[in-house]
């Protein structure tokens, strides 16, 4: 049997549903030395801001039971350097490119999205969900009002399709998703990391300089799955499921919960070939189960 892994995400075709998650895959270059990243459905860039950012001080990563806390704080070269130095390299691969953008203020998001208008990209992922910067970003994603207003503005300025990346820390993630849809978003991706904390009892202080950090990995998968299921039931734009996906089985769980695409983050650290393995694992599974197209099982729950 020939199975078709391709996914229609609004008007955009993805060759398969496996996308590398922002911040865990750099700009793809490092992983391209390990496998042909062109086999992925897409790659989300590291979170980009208008100006270059140095990121947070102190410890940036901490392992928790089956999870990872990070406090990178959006270190990135800035949009201009991205367009000049990184994007041309990414264009060599036969995969969708999604620019993840964040900011401290509305104006920054707007300028960033304008600067990206002439860049050869497939989508913009509006990151309103990073818990690791003191100002903005996740603040926009906490409530439906601020989220909807920002999305509306970006939809006006951007010529690229805009997906909005939601935070599990939102007051009501379903209502934020609905507001984004109403504001014209072309898709929703969720979840970004869960605001969490670690304590170093030896030092008697918080591990992270910002005290709080973002939790990712298998630990949060059951929470992510629930939120993806809830959001898929509530909106009719396509959804990208993210959170703790380590293998093709986890990926299928998110598809069955209603996701069109899935993103893999922490899994890239655990096994740099995770993306490749998930693509082939999904294919084998579909063949064995006689699933011709993921539409057959998407949202079956």
């Amino acid at each position: 049997m020939t199975c078709d892994l391709s996914v229609k995400f609004n008007y955009l075709d993805f060759k398969n549903p496996v996308v590398a998650a922002s911040g865990t895959f750099g700009f793809g270059e490092e992983y391209s030395r390990i496998y042909d990243v062109g086999i992925l459905g897409g790659i989300c860039t590291k979170g980009l801001t208008l100006e270059p950012k140095e990121g947070n001080n102190g410890i940036r990563l901490w392992e928790t039971p089956m999870g990872v806390l990070n406090s990178i704080g959006m270190e990135n070269p800035g949009i201009e350097a991205f367009i000049k130095n990184e994007l041309p390299k990414m264009k060599k691969w036969d995969t969708r490119i999604i620019a993840n953008i964040g900011g401290a203020a509305e104006e920054e998001y707007i300028l960033a999205s304008e600067m990206l208008n002439n860049a050869d990209l497939d989508m913009i992922e509006l990151n309103i969900s990073c818990p690791n910067v003191r100002e903005g970003c996740m603040a926009f994603g906490m409530k439906e009002k601020s989220a909807g207003e920002l999305v509306e503005k970006i939809k006006h300025t951007s010529r690229h399709p805009v997906i909005v990346k939601l935070t599990p820390n939102a007051e009501n993630i379903v209502r934020v998703a609905e507001a984004c849809e109403a504001a014209g978003a072309d898709g929703i991706s969720l979840i970004n990391t869960v605001k969490a904390m670690a304590v170093d009892i030896k030092e008697r202080k918080a591990v992270f300089e910002n005290i709080y950090a973002g939790l990712s990995g298998p630990a949060i998968k059951p929470i992510a799955l629930r939120m993806v299921h809830e959001v898929c039931k509530a909106v009719s734009i396509p959804v990208i499921g993210i959170g703790g996906i380590m293998n093709w089985k986890d990926a299928m769980e998110f598809i069955m919960a209603g996701a069109h695409l899935i993103q893999i983050g922490t899994a890239n650290f655990v096994n740099p070939e995770a993306g490749k393995k998930i693509v082939s694992g999904m294919k084998d599974y579909m063949e064995k189960e006689g699933i011709k197209n993921l539409d057959e099982i998407r949202g079956i729950i």
């Binding site: 750099g26 490092e30 390990i34 392992e63 089956m66 990872v68 990178i72 990995g217 298998p218 922490t266």
Partner: protein, 234 residues
């Protein structure tokens, strides 16, 4: 996956792990060791201790859950190994001081071994500081011109930095900072190998980012070896 051929305790909480296979690497580089398939999640960065023929050795200390689980592995079992990663120590010339503190000794064995064999090197003096006990006492002497060790003291006191063409160091920050300062005074290059918590190990996640005199650098890819003045002279 690599086959463990030996994993023996050689000191208080300190182990020497040997795996079999065809491995690459140069002194100061490290491997990411995945202790078990599922838990713990992340791999642990561990330096190359010795690389010969088809054997690769690691010297490690139980520092937490991951290294504890590693220490329970027996010959015949397998672990995940990725690498070699990082830059390793640069090539140097002349008379070299190699200085280690605590587990900072780990990358220095292969370092000394290669230096000693190198035609451009006139002498390799190894200085190791331990806090409790000396480990592998009889091994170190074989790979250097002269070996000095100290237990419980400050090893930097015994290194006459001015006397060397370059210093290669690995150990506590306070030790490497001291060497860097002295080196700067005497116009000597001091190379230090630093530690950082790692996610990907290959330069993609910026977990290991460190501020240097030349902007942010990634310990896993641009390091772990840096010029001391890049790190401590900010």
């Amino acid at each position: 996956m690599a086959l463990i051929t030996d994993n023996k305790k050689i000191g208080n909480g300190i182990y020497l792990l040997e795996v079999e296979g065809r491995f690459k690497g140069s002194p100061g580089q490290f491997y990411m060791i995945q202790v078990a398939e599922t838990y713990p999640l992340l791999s642990r960065p561990i330096s190359i201790f010795e690389l010969t023929g088809n054997k690769l050795k690691f010297l490690y200390r139980i520092a937490g859950e991951g290294t504890r689980l590693l220490s329970e592995k027996k010959g015949g079992e397998c672990i995940g190994l990725r690498g070699p990663y990082g830059n390793g120590y640069p090539s140097v010339k002349g008379k070299i001081a190699v200085v280690g503190g605590g587990m900072g000794a780990a990358p220095l064995y292969e370092t000394c071994k290669r230096l000693k064999e190198h035609p451009d090197i006139t002498a390799v003096d190894l200085y190791l500081g331990f806090s409790e006990e000396i480990i592998l006492k009889n091994e170190w002497e074989k790979v250097c011109s002269s070996f000095f060790y100290d237990i419980g003291g400050m090893i930097t006191k015994h290194v006459d930095v001015a006397d060397y063409d370059a210093v290669l160091a690995c150990g506590p920050d306070i030790m490497m900072k001291k060497l860097t300062e002295t080196g700067k005074k005497h116009g000597k290059k001091v190379y230090v190998s630093i530690e950082s918590r790692m996610g990907c190990g290959i330069g993609a996640c910026l977990s290991c980012s460190c501020k240097t005199a030349n902007g942010n650098k990634k310990v896993c890819k641009d390091g772990p070896v840096f010029l001391g003045v890049e790190i401590y002279d900010l």
